[in-house]
Amino acid sequence: MAMYNDKVMDHFMNPRNVGEIENADGKGVYGSPVCGDMMKISINVENDVITDAKFKTFGCGSAIASSSVATDMIIGKSVEEALKITNKNILNELGGLPAIKIHCSVLADRAIRSAIYDYAQKTGKHYAGLEGFDPNEDDDNETADQKQI
């Protein structure tokens, strides 16, 4: 379909890292089915490096593709590096999304932060990249983020 590029279609048709890690070190959720997309992500962390990440997403083609590519991006990265990943990085990795679909990549970036936040809460660790992050903040802020892209 002409709406998405080949890379997006590949990640949508053959998503990487689908599933849930049992007894994961950190879990995050972002979005809601009422809004049309919800991503759940689970991560394992060893020595401050993300060793595994899996996702489940209810959402459109670009939400699934950005979940897939985002989990690929964080595996093997240190927690601080993963926290630096922005919507823009995810978008670039996907080779771009139609303008109207850009909010779908916000989902993945927020879900990753939520999972790391959960991990930090459980382990009592502090990460500079988490400062000011509130996993429960509402969509008004999401809109503000979108405007910055």
Binding site: F12, M13, P33, V34, G36, F55, K56, G59, I100, K101
Partner: protein, 389 residues
Amino acid sequence: MRQVYLDYSATTPVKEEVLKEMLPYFTKKFGNPSSLYSIAQESKIAVEEARERVASLIGANPGEVFFTSSGTESDNWAVIETARLKKSRGNHIITTKIEHHALLHSCKYLETQGFDVTWLDVDRDGRVEPGDLEAAVTDKTVLISVMFANNEIGTIEPVREIAEIAKKHKITFHTDAVQALGNVPIDVHDLGVDMISVSSHKIYGPKGVGALYIRKGLTLPNLLHGGAQENRKRAGTENLTGIVGFGKAAQLAGLSLSEHIAKTASLRNYFIGEVTARIPDVHVNGGMEHRLPGNANITFEYVEGEALLLLLDMKGIAISTGSACSSASLTPSHVLTAIGVPMEKIHGSLRFTIGDFTTKDDIDYTVNELEKSVTKLRNISSVSKEKGW
């Protein structure tokens, strides 16, 4: 790859017979129907023959049918010009929450021009309750517009009852019959409506041509001003080829109406039967009793419609969805919202519309691919029957 088109409510292919009838009017018989020499008169005759054919399909007199560029133009003309005409008498309009955008946005525009619009609710099946409509009538009501059949869920509205109420209160009644034409028998005089919008490309005619039926004796000011075309009611050189095609399509639709209804309803019922038997957690949206024969609108729980549409498109299957993600405005279907479908289930809704070229093989292929695609997306989904929404 196999191609299966199941979006006949969006548009239809032009039938071969229709195209054949149109072709000479592009090249040899290209004359402007308003001119006076022979080839122009041939064009004029062709337009009038088409008018008779369209009129015949809706039981109208040819003089009551005016060609336009689209169903949208017909809706705009009927609603906006009636409102302007009657503004000194009253500024109240009654319509429904499930109208096509052509009607909905025309009424929204009128709201900005000092009109009050009552947006009637519909029941779970998508039907307007005539009693609710009558209760909404005030001494300021000048126009009622209720669609004949809904484009998303196929609900056929109680047009005759509404027309009676309108007549009783001496209010002009318009109905958008774009989806109903060629799918439901329509007789304007029997129904007692004042205006009906129809369109060619939903009945295997070309795009870019529609018509407005205006009951004889009803006054409707012009929307487009200019030349004397369409009995001075609608200016602009006639879309000659389009009108000829619309006429032929209307003739064919009239000839095969009962056969078309029986065939599409039977395939639609088979499709719904197969889908509900083979795929768990699906719901048909809208009632089955008063429904367009080829329409199936189904929610697949725990998946999102645009993703499902994409997977089916990869298999050559063309359908549409009520999901917000598929719309340019990112708003979910106003029709499914109006019949009370929860938001998360609107996102997982697909519309399948069956037409004259659909075969049982097409349906079997679609059900198979649908089953695979739904399973695939449910495996990826963060929501499920077990875990809930």
